[in-house]
Amino acid sequence: MKFNSSQEIINLLLVNDRDCIQSIYTRNLDKVIRFVSKNKGTPSDAEEIFQDALFQIIVRAKVKGLQINSSFDAYLFTVCKNLWYKELNNRKKKVRNDIVLELKGEENNHIESILYQERWDLFEEMLQKLSDRCRSLLKDYFNKVAYAKIVEKFSFANENSAFQGVFKCKKKLAQYIKEDARYLMLK
């Protein structure tokens, strides 16, 4: 089954088209299984994540419409990765016995994951609006590159100016995020 665009796939998902769902499985499930298996999970964890990701995409499309700017398959893979990281995080919390995990229920889990993914999409999109220099500076800063290296690479006068530089980029990012109508919807 061949599709021309992500929108075409979403339209078929909106009418619960079995062939479309089947072809999504065929094209993508193995990749998700490989990813989860390499990241402390099992194939059945991957199948569960895959089903949740696909379901949440359809729910979002139904409730408020969904536009995917990349390929559908790439987007689905991103959603699966984020869901799997969330699951790993939950498992880590369960291991730490000082935290009593509240049983959230399936409905809240879906809502939480949907909101997380939408926030993730928004932040990624706004990051692309920043200058190359800002993106690269933030990337190095959050990858814990030493300040001294950052000063040299970005020709800052000293570490304090590097700190100011990071701050300005974050401030710009915060401004873009706040200006976007989607941010209010997620609050």
Binding site: N16, Q22, K38, V59, E107, F123, K144, A146
Partner: protein, 265 residues
């Protein structure tokens, strides 16, 4: 939101604010919902950029209520059912495929025997094709971890997995630069990634770092070093390393090394 306040938020979150100021700042946050909102946004930005994942409270908004009522609908249950049913069918189909793969393996053995005969008649295969035959990403240890210190390591592993070796190198190098307790596997990944982007010197340098370490994966370093030489067309160097692997049966892939050595001679 004024600049000074945002600057203080940044100082507060990065730990650059002195303790006496922290007390006043936290009081300000507690008393002022707007400041709290701004602080939360900066926190979310930090979490997004560092790849951390935290749970958020679900807001009681029109949108979440719409999501909730749809999730409770019969339509949502039908969608979930269809997805699960197709998932079930796919699993059964893939098990069947697994069985037919066994037949494929049997067929491959026959093909391999013929190919081996062809090899004896047609001469040695190229070092490149041997590299393709013997290199397996599965032989690399899993290094993906989630946490503050390992985000560049993790990002590197993901880029590597997606075949973006240049990007992987950049992440791994910044992970190394950050210092602290390094996961020794990063040297293996860097060695392979550099070899993929045809920087044999850096590749060997990283393999040597793991080979001389106390890591359990030290002997994997030997195996991948041999493969890197093979990929670079340096078969004599590859042979030297393979001989070293063969000399100790407890070395990783010692049998494969012997087999590969036979093909290079």
């Amino acid at each position: 939101m004024d600049d000074n306040l945002q600057y203080n938020i940044e100082r507060y979150l990065s730990g650059a604010m002195p303790p006496d100021e922290v007390v006043d700042f936290e009081k300000l946050v507690a008393e002022n919902p707007e400041v709290k909102k701004e602080l939360n946004l900066f926190k979310e930005i930090n979490q997004h950029l560092s790849g951390e994942r935290d749970d958020y409270d679900i807001p009681n908004s029109v949108y979440t209520n719409e999501l909730r009522s749809f999730l409770r609908s019969e339509e949502a249950k039908d969608i979930q059912k269809t997805i699960a049913e197709i998932g079930e069918e796919q699993t059964v189909a893939s098990k069947r495929k697994g069985r037919s793969n066994m037949l494929m393996v049997a067929a491959s053995v026959v093909i391999f025997l013929f190919a081996s005969l062809g090899y004896w008649f047609l001469g040695n295969p190229s070092t490149d094709s041997l590299y393709v035959d013997y290199y397996s990403q599965e032989d690399l240890p899993s290094i993906v971890k989630r946490g503050d210190d390992s985000s560049s390591l993790e990002k590197g592993a993901l880029a590597f997995q997606d075949g973006n070796h240049e990007e992987a190198v950049a992440y791994f190098e910044s992970y190394k630069e950050a210092g602290g307790d390094l996961d020794p596997s990063v040297f293996l990944y860097l060695g392979v990634a550099y070899s993929k982007i045809e920087n044999i010197e850096k590749s060997i340098e990283n393999f040597d770092a793991i080979i001389t370490s106390n890591s359990l994966d030290a002997s994997k370093g030997l195996w991948f070093k041999a493969l890197a030489y093979l990929k670079a067309g340096q078969s004599e160097n590859a042979k030297t390393i393979l001989e070293e692997i063969v000399s100790n049966p407890s070395h990783f892939n010692s049998n494969k090394a012997k087999e590969l050595l036979g093909k290079l001679d």
